[in-house]
Amino acid sequence: MPVRGRLSDPVLHPVAYFSVGCNTRGVYGNDFDQPGAASLLEEVDAAERALKAAAEGQVVAGDGDELQAYFDAVIAADQKIEPRDWMPEAYRKGLIRQIAQHAHSEIIGMQPEGNWISRAPSLQRKAILLAKVQDEAGHGLYLYAAAETLGINRDELVDMLISGKQKYSSIFNYPTLTWADVGAIGWLVDGAAIVNQVPLCRCSYGPYARAMIRICKEESFHQRQGYEILYTLAHGTPGQKAMAQDSVDRWWYPSLAMFGPPDTESTHSEQSMAWKIKRFSNDDLRQKFVDMCVPQAEVLDLRIPDPALAWNEQRQAYDYTQPDYDELFQVIRGDGPCNRQRMAHRRAAHDDGAWVREAAAAYATKHSVGGRHE
């Protein structure tokens, strides 16, 4: 749970990206040891430790001849299913769909922010934004690689995005109108994504869990850089502060909608829970996100655009206004502000890159004549 005012040093502890270490802790930085430090990163770290601990444990005593029983026993023991293990067809298909849509979201997610690379307000902001957008591409690639371990190939995955057969997160169909939107995306959109994704670090499918641990650690840089952009604007000129407030006003409800429909209308959640793919309900995660954001907004000195927002002593959580789910479904159906633009851009980028793929393949063929010597 969030602690009020814990971000007393709001221009954020620098993360030790450049420390040299052998594990992700050394590489991605570690500021968990500070009192009240980031609880989400701590959860990612705990998930990583749990993954190692489960792997150390005795192999579950399932009946090796009974495939389903063995699968169930591995899941029950919190161990991981690995690529060549037997798994129910619905588990495989469901995971492919979920991982692929997650990958597509990372790929399309480069567009709203890419919009501001050429207009970033300083060289440093530009370099940071470039690194962040490159990370999004990397996340898409980790996830495509994880999906491919389930027996689908990359061409099929790319085709499902380009043809519109599979969706990506509806949030990326909103436009980035001002520089402050880059901040709001980092703070709210990446923040919501992290809350959604941290539990996936404990997903029962090994390659997905490992990809998510890596992604969550990188996402926390994204969230902090967004928060820092907003903090800087909110403590700048009145015009800059107004720009920051306007971006929070526009991104708040779409970010809440990222957690999906309310539990009462959510489909295929139960099976996902039983298979330990999904671990918390949409509404629980949404609540967690709201409770995190309120004190963070206070430090920013920006207003969350919800007049009904109030601390509920009894629930020990904030009451808040639900996002407009009709709008969510409308955007998912294809009628958001930027759906057509995002898809057109992705298709054009794919087509424009065709000559590079062909040239690389021709070069590889030419040099492989007479064996596989390089």
Partner: protein
């Protein structure tokens, strides 16, 4: 067209290469460069191996019992199997 490559990274001197994921590339040189961009953006490694996925032969989880069982009943391979008489040092 584009082949699947498995990527192994040595995080630093003194450690062995560890599998980190896969990627697509038309040849080994491009696979290496792609691996650098995808898997070592934060100095995660000092050395990269890329191996064509098609060139890897793997044991099958289906036959794991038959395949690995012979090791299970050879407890005498572990030093703890042996009784050491009291008072014997450096053994």
């Amino acid at each position: 067209m584009s082949e699947l490559w498995e990527v192994f990274i040595r995080p630093r001197r003194g450690l062995s290469h560890v599998h980190v994921g896969s990627l697509h590339a038309p040849d080994a040189q491009i696979a290496l460069r792609n691996a650098r961009d995808v898997y070592t953006r934060r100095q995660e490694g000092v050395s990269i191996w890329v191996v064509r996925a098609a060139d890897i032969t793997a044991s099958s989880p289906d036959e794991k019992d038959a395949f690995f069982d012979p090791a299970a009943d050879k407890v005498y391979r572990h030093p703890t199997f042996y009784k050491v008489p009291e008072g014997v040092a450096h053994l």
